[in-house]
Symmetry: C2
Subunit: 524 residues, 2 copies
Amino acid sequence: MGASSPAQRAVLERAHHGGGWLLSGIICINILILGCALVSGSAFNSVAITAVHRQIFLIVLLVLTMLWMLFYTAVTSRMDQAIVFKDSHAGPVWLRGGFLVFGLLSLLMDIFKIATYAGYLHCDSAVKVAFPVVQAVFLIVQTFFLWTHAKDCVQLHTNFTRCGLTLTLSTNLVVWMAAVTEESLHQTEIPDLYVNVSHKMYRANYGDKCKCSHSACDTFKEAFYYLYPFNIEYSLFASALAYVMWKNVGRLVEDHSHPHVKFRPKEVCFGPLTGILLVVAGLATFIMYEVDILTEDEEKRNLALLIHFVMNIVIVSLMSLATVIGCIVYRLDHREHVSEKNPTRSLDVGLLVGSSIGQFIISYFSIVALLATGARGYLNALNLSWALLTVLQLGLQNYFIIEGLNREPFHVMQEAALHTNAHAYTEMSTVIESNRSTYQLTSTKNKLNWKRRILKEVSAFLLLANIILWIMPAFGARPQFDHPTEIKFYKFTMWAAIVNIGLPFGIFYRMHSVASLFEVYLFS
Amino acid sequence: MGASSPAQRAVLERAHHGGGWLLSGIICINILILGCALVSGSAFNSVAITAVHRQIFLIVLLVLTMLWMLFYTAVTSRMDQAIVFKDSHAGPVWLRGGFLVFGLLSLLMDIFKIATYAGYLHCDSAVKVAFPVVQAVFLIVQTFFLWTHAKDCVQLHTNFTRCGLTLTLSTNLVVWMAAVTEESLHQTEIPDLYVNVSHKMYRANYGDKCKCSHSACDTFKEAFYYLYPFNIEYSLFASALAYVMWKNVGRLVEDHSHPHVKFRPKEVCFGPLTGILLVVAGLATFIMYEVDILTEDEEKRNLALLIHFVMNIVIVSLMSLATVIGCIVYRLDHREHVSEKNPTRSLDVGLLVGSSIGQFIISYFSIVALLATGARGYLNALNLSWALLTVLQLGLQNYFIIEGLNREPFHVMQEAALHTNAHAYTEMSTVIESNRSTYQLTSTKNKLNWKRRILKEVSAFLLLANIILWIMPAFGARPQFDHPTEIKFYKFTMWAAIVNIGLPFGIFYRMHSVASLFEVYLFS
């Protein structure tokens, strides 16, 4: 395999590209759009299509997916020659780790759901209990399946496996759509901005027809709505993993393992130090915010919002500043771009840009609403600055990360300098580059080049800042709903839809950025 | 250039891949999301953001895009070495032809708009006249620009050109969003299902504050709303052309012109004949439908709907049947898949699948609504069958077209048989293939192979059937609004949004299919 030319390999790969990928794509589109129609139908017309219809559809999808997964684990993956190659880039540890954590929290959600709806069994549909039971089993099967097989490049049963993987992908996306819609509807039931009231309202609505048979019902119901965002994240992660596996079906990769790069945290200090300070300060204000925002005292709530906005503005400004410095260093530094094609890298970049759109949408909708209403009052002015700075920060950070990932790692350059430089296409550049590489080779033994040092400091700082920006929304900060301007401007339903679709992507974006920045740190 | 290896070329292309594409992507996302927020803001909150704000934003975008286009035409494209290569696959004649026709109709729309709003100048904002004026100029500049430069692979000013092209892309998409929203809102003003009433309503609404100063106002206003769908199509076409140009910036292609394939219509007869019959029958029922649907007599309208549904079911069933036959022939026929990478081909396939999603969405939403309400009455039953068969037909047709485009054309195989077969990777397959090719070489001189014959008949039939399925919605058939089930189920606003977003994509899909089927016909 090692000696085959790229052209020959392309032909071989093409030969594996039968009708399977086409058929699997068609299946995926059909399930997705049918799911979309069903979910919207049950949201907009609760008379003809109820939650029960939607849940029956989901149960069918979940069972089918599980059957395929069991078949794959028991038959396909056990066959000889089925999995000769593994894609070392696929399913990195952070993704699978996050996947496991969110899976556990989703399992908890399902247990709470089962406990809640079991109390209504005497007067409500049994499907409402059956669905979380099936979903809990599915969570266990899927987490095990993707944990063990995420890196597989399957060579046998390719067409069937492709269809199975798009079934997994579309099932997870339909579950995601259903969860987002349910969450939005649940929030829309809130008559004003107090969460406490909503809970009482909800209980009252439900209670007049059908009473829960055990006393813990309310606690469970309150608890499982807090766990919804984790289930939403879990579905997104599972979709990403299934998509990578789908891309890897029939792929022939050479088994070059990840170049081992030593992580030496002592190399840098200023970036991590500022970053840790920022995380601690962010955590402190976040806890204050979470406590104060639930009080009935309007002044206290406004103060909490003020502190939250100021803290976020400080974080985002510092991040933008750091990223600008990093981008300038890239301009000065003339490392070669990686020319090798790498599907996982392309997917990484695609996911990064795609998930950043969620945060972009929320920020731009805020900007338009605030500008149109004149941004009167200090809270509106702060909110506007936050949104503007976030847009700037997202653009800069995307640029920084993608540039960083696309450059030849320094350690690879060092190795290349020892061999003849095969890639350089003019003599001139070869000479320049090998000179530079040799220089780095000698210098890095003792101390880092100042450019590398700055890049490492910047990535470490951005990494920590992204962690705090991840923690705040992931653990419940929703200034978008605590501050009334956008709600009044767009009406509650629309604003809830925008935030509930955009924010999970935003959270995913921050986690993904942390992982990518870690890679940029290692490669610099 | 001819002698350079693929690897070397990849490096060269990479070298051109500076920060430009990243920056241009970030610009594109920002304009699009800001545009989306503005358009939704003006649709959902007409107090703070009016149509005037949106139009000012659009004028700024249009002027900036025009300035860049003029700069490109006057400076960049005139420079030495700027356009050494042309992509012969980009901007095919059907796309540029449709683009020109839709451009002319959009120009007409703008002229009507100017005439209408000029009559309100004494009491309404001057921006409402300024916007169509600017848009008319923009239409001329852009149509000229894309007509002459669609095939360019620019080698100079690459970063600036990339940003200019994404600016063009996002401007067109924002214009598209604005047009779709305006069209939806206009239709939502209709209090019941009669178009005539809406017009009177609209006039009444506007008339009480501000009267038109000339008498032709109403005629013009009625006329320009009929031309909206063409403007929507025009924006989609322009976006597709700009995207291909953006992909081609800095690309080094060998200037192999399209292999000349002779179009001999006498080769086939059954397919085209049935197709033409279908087109004629479809046109006849379409005209009847358009006349009868506007009458006040409910029975006559139901009859018109009945005939329209039956005709569509017949067309779609015959198409599905023909496609199944075609797919079976593909199974029997073992032509090699094309292994060469071709960005325009990938884009073609992407556009085909992407635009089919529009029709998929409408059909699935219909299916869910009809099934949930029980599909009572013959009209509902027919509508349901139509939707189900459309889903089937779309899936099959996508499969047929993509398979057809991905196979090595027969004439190329004949040439290859004369040389040594460089691509075959085992001796076995070389022998088989050259045998087969030689056989075809001798046989095709006189008569077509039966497999080729069937494929040609099927593609010709599908081509003509797609034409009639294009004509009907493009020239105003909207059974989705003439039949009340879905409107009642999803509420009018939501259903109007689904149809107005989905249908333009559906129309684009039919046109695109016609072009792709023509290619499949030639390659078979």
